[in-house]
Symmetry: C2
Subunit: 246 residues, 2 copies
């Protein structure tokens, strides 16, 4: 599950990025604000629309987008209404226009530089991931504390020492950091990232990290994902045992 | 982001596991049902309570749990009310009782066997993950299609051929499968898992997989996570540019 965490505010949600209300609330109200639940779905629509465009499809219905993205068509219509109207009754949406509008909205027309901290299996898997480039994301640097790993190549990157973290963040103008370390290393790494100027963190370590106001954290905890599936497996089993109408 | 997908139902949510209404709706209403948003937070409470118990804490307040889990205390109280009352006014919750009750609710008193399909970097990272055992999850098998990998050891597991997938699922009584393959392999692997009897899938491949009714799918898409952070970075930048009150 990806959960945005900010223990300082003692609030947690699977949908809403927790923001510093004092810092950003007033600004957010002044600007057109897209609900975080919609923000979380826009990349799915973008992926679906890009696939449609690649297949030569020029117009599509909300049902079309819904099926391709695995979202209800009611959600699609509601979400896209936040971007302004790009649909024509009886014709549908212009695939290219809508794709470009979404890409612009989620900042994909920019190129976001990311640093990965931790070049173990997980960091290596992330560095080797093929899908980032087409989504406006570049892995600009990979660092590790293990001298045996420093200097090795990982796809287009050379693993550098974690001692260079701050210099690399500044050199590449990096705002987003990925923590791919064991749990014990997560908080010190988060501190280093924030000190270097990173303001968004994706944390794969199965532990909460505490960050100052203004820094966004999202957490991916694989064990939590599996536990949620296990809960539903248990319910399936208990309904079968009790002679459920399956 | 972990998103439960079931394209057949054309519905997608970051919170709710999508169920087959026709199959399970009636049963669900008959049994005590815990909202999926709560189910998603229970493992966090469990982790927090286990840490408190390890530190010798025997009673705690909802604020205590909230801080340790990074959740609002209002959410904690609401969520725990679904489990029955384990709190005493003025005293708080019994840490051990509450921990055991949550563990039972999410099926952690059972041992859930999991198969990982794909023994590349990601599959290796998952197989090496230390936190599963204490959460009732065992990686029972790891398979790959690459003959060069078959026979290698990965922690306590030996990588086996994907040809043995069905036999391994039956042998170990596996209900949960993890897809850690490239995108092109995800759907064929999902089909094989379902045919073998797996009814819950955690998909790390950045593509939707289609499954029959009664099978739960959760998807973790790292690029989507980063895109959500990028959207918020963009908003921070635009509010700074427009002379926001930071």
């Amino acid at each position: 599950m990806a959960i945005e965490t900010n223990p300082r505010h003692q609030a947690r949600s699977t949908v809403n990025l927790l923001r510093n209300d004092a810092l950003e609330g007033a600004q957010a109200r002044r600007r057109a604000q897209i609900p975080d639940a919609t923000v979380a779905r826009l990349p799915l629509y973008l992926r679906a629309l890009s696939e449609l465009a690649d297949r030569g499809v020029t117009t599509c219905s909300s049902e079309h987008v819904a099926t391709a993205a695995g979202v209800s068509s009611a959600n699609v219509r509601k979400d896209l209404s936040h971007l302004g109207s790009y649909g024509t009754r009886g014709v549908g949406y212009d695939v290219h226009q809508l794709r470009d509008r979404i890409a612009e909205t989620i900042g994909q027309t920019q190129n976001w530089k990311v640093i990965i901290v931790g070049a173990g299996h997980l960091g290596s898997a992330l560095a080797a991931y093929q899908g980032f480039g087409t989504r406006g994301i570049t892995i600009a640097a990979v660092v590790d504390e293990d001298p045996a790993l420093v200097g090795s190549t990982l796809g287009p990157n050379t693993i550098e020492s974690v001692d260079n973290l701050a210099a690399l963040v500044k050199e590449h103008n990096i705002l987003i950091g990925i923590i791919a370390t064991p749990p014990a290393g997560a908080q010190p790494v988060a501190d280093q990232l924030v000190a270097a100027g990173v303001t968004s963190i994706l944390n794969f370590a199965p532990t909460l990290v505490h960050v100052p106001d203004g820094v966004d954290v999202r957490q991916v905890d694989v064990a939590v994902e599996l536990q949620i599936l296990a809960y539903h497996e248990q319910r399936k089993a208990s309904s079968a045992d009790s002679g459920g109408d399956e």
